[in-house]
């Protein structure tokens, strides 16, 4: 499997990133290099193996559904690029 420029463009779209032509070419090279290295995993037979996601398994833990103080609205809006009256401002989405 090798990554084409079209693949780079497709994945960039999924990742919401933009690249110029030069960046696309160098990403294509880098991805092919890293994926080429990763291919060594194919040497291992894993057909009958289970997947593990967390390295140390812990049963689901539940906590009491207590009411707790949340952050103050101002503590959040102060970090927003644009805010107004306790709301975060974004451009109009629906015409």
């Amino acid at each position: 499997m090798s990554v084409s420029k079209k693949d780079v463009e497709h994945v960039a779209k999924l990742a919401r990133l933009e690249f110029n032509e030069m960046e696309k070419n160098s990403l294509m090279d880098d991805l092919n290099k890293v994926l080429g290295y990763i291919e060594k995993l194919e040497e291992l037979n894993t057909e009958n193996e289970d997947i593990i996601i967390n390295p140390y398994y812990i049963e689901n833990k539940f906590r009491e559904d207590d009411i707790q103080q949340s952050l103050k609205v101002e503590a959040v809006t102060i970090n927003a690029p644009q805010s107004l009256g306790g709301y975060i401002v974004v451009p109009k989405i629906i015409d």
Partner: protein, 485 residues
């Protein structure tokens, strides 16, 4: 009295015996930072006013005979991806420029609760992605042992500030070696605890099934001290285990007699620097002299860890970093066509090249048609790697190997070659993949550059790591070496 030269446990004694004031301790560290940090670039933010106010508050408490916490007056510096209320949390990225943390991370609550003093925030590879701190969008951080060389990464600032006596303790994060590798390259102690030992609440996520918060110190006792107070269960990080945190202090001095140490032959193969190999083999003799049984062992799957790691960590990173969209916080592009274009423009302007590369790799391996071939495969290999370690840890109390295949490399030496940079984590990555604890301690010098020894233990057995590491430290003087800066 140069108070910045003391370790945390020494300072703690001086403070509690009223030999020194906390304000003097804090000032001596800021003086040191003022005199050397322009050459090193460890800090991104200094919390001078807050730190001095806090120092005075603790001094008052002490003079009035009040009860103080167990880290009273001890300075701690924090990697800039762990939230400290009221301070920046830039992750050394342009995308978080201007962001101020509205709350404290769990570990910060714990440190503040024990009256520790936060000195400032430290440089790192952007979003902890890198092994040299060269991926920081903010500044270059230099190795105190040779300022033409990298400090390692991603917690480069954390390793440097401790190594250069700018702070006795520091926190970092370790996803694939980001605490242990810079500790090794800067000649300090660095611990990555077991996955689940320390809450990540308030630390910016990179690879959620790999990330841990780790401690830097100049000796093992200090490393154990800080880990003691940040470890434990936290409801806000559901991966933390409700397993008691043992008293690490009391495990330090236990006899090594009969302790079984495994030396994995796969960690001494191609790519390992000859000087590093020699230093590590000499260290093994110290363990034997102290009564441990040192024997060769085998972790045949080691060679596959890095490949599995890059799939898992990049996949998780691509998902975790989707939150940086220019809407709620962080950088928002000023020119855009429509709402969705804000995402494209803000992310493309805000993220640096390595972060974009990892997001692209992660998105690729998770995308339709490749998920099974890459991501699922990596998770199965992860299981095999875990079994590999479990098998060896049935026969041995700990595994000992080099932390990094080389000493500190030159700034710019590897930055052009993505794979060669990734390979510098080859000995640390398997530990994260399996979720085990690992510690790096100084064990030698090659051409006036420090060499790190890695000790890997079983789940939640940080006490065993501290015990073995402390025994080594008591028999050697490597941890007392000082960089000439």
């Amino acid at each position: 009295m140069d108070l910045n030269l003391y370790t945390a446990h020494e300072l703690s004694d001086l403070i509690s015996n009223k030999k020194v004031k906390v304000e003097e301790v804090v000032n001596s560290h800021f003086n040191r930072i003022d005199s050397v940090d322009s050459k090193l670039g460890a800090y991104l933010y200094l919390a001078k006013t807050e730190a001095i106010d806090k120092a005075r508050e603790i001094d008052n408490k002490i003079s009035q005979g009040g009860k103080t916490g167990r880290l009273a007056g001890i300075p701690v510096s924090i990697k800039d991806n762990i939230s400290v209320q009221g301070m920046q949390n830039s992750c050394a990225s342009k995308i978080l420029k201007g962001y101020i943390s509205p709350y404290d991370a769990h570990v910060i609550e714990k440190i503040k609760g024990e009256d520790g003093i936060i000195l400032g925030k430290l440089n790192m590879d952007e979003f902890a992605m890198g092994s040299s701190t060269e991926n920081s969008a903010c500044r270059v951080t230099r190795n105190p042992w040779d300022t033409e060389r990298v400090p390692g990464g991603s917690s480069g600032g954390s390793a440097v500030c401790v190594s250069a006596f700018e702070s006795p303790l520091a926190l970092g994060t370790d996803t694939g070696g980001s605490v242990r590798q810079p500790a090794s390259l800067c000649g300090v102690v660095g611990l990555k605890p077991t996955y689940g030992r320390v809450s990540r609440y308030g630390a910016v996520a990179f690879g959620s099934t790999l990330d841990q918060i780790g401690t830097f110190a100049r000796d093992v006792e200090d490393c154990a001290l800080l880990n003691q107070y940040i470890a434990g269960v936290d409801q806000r990080d559901s991966t933390t285990a409700n397993i008691e945190v043992p008293n690490y202090q009391s495990s330090l001095t236990k006899d090594l007699k009969g302790k079984r140490i495994g030396v994995p032959k796969e960690y001494f193969g191609e790519g390992l620097d000859e000087g590093v190999r020699k230093a590590v083999f000499e260290a093994l003799r110290v363990f034997e002299e102290n009564g441990a049984i040192v024997k060769e062992c085998s972790l045949p799957l080691s060679d596959y860890s890095l490949a599995a790691y890059y799939i898992i960590s990049s996949a998780e990173a691509s998902s975790n970093l989707a939150r940086f969209d220019g809407i709620r916080y962080g950088h928002r592009a000023t020119e855009f066509n429509d709402a969705v274009d804000i995402y494209y423009k803000s992310r493309s302007q805000g993220f640096g090249p390595e972060v974009k590369r990892r997001i692209m790799l992660g998105t690729y391996v998770l995308s339709a048609g490749y998920y099974d071939a890459y991501y699922k495969k990596a998770l199965k290999v992860r299981n095999l790697i875990k079994q590999d370690f479990s098998r060896v840890l049935k026969d041995f109390d700990a595994i000992v190997c080099p932390t990094s295949p080389t000493t500190a490399f030159k700034i710019g030496e590897k930055s052009g070659d993505v794979l060669s940079m990734y390979l510098s984590d080859i000995y640390t990555v398997p530990v994260n993949v399996a979720g085990l604890p690992g510690i790096s301690i100084p064990c030698g010098m090659v051409n006036n550059l420090p060499v790190g020894l890695q000790i890997i233990g079983n789940y939640y057995r940080e006490d065993v790591l501290f015990n073995i590491a402390y025994s080594f430290e008591k028999s050697t003087n490597w941890h007392k070496m000082k960089p000439n800066i």
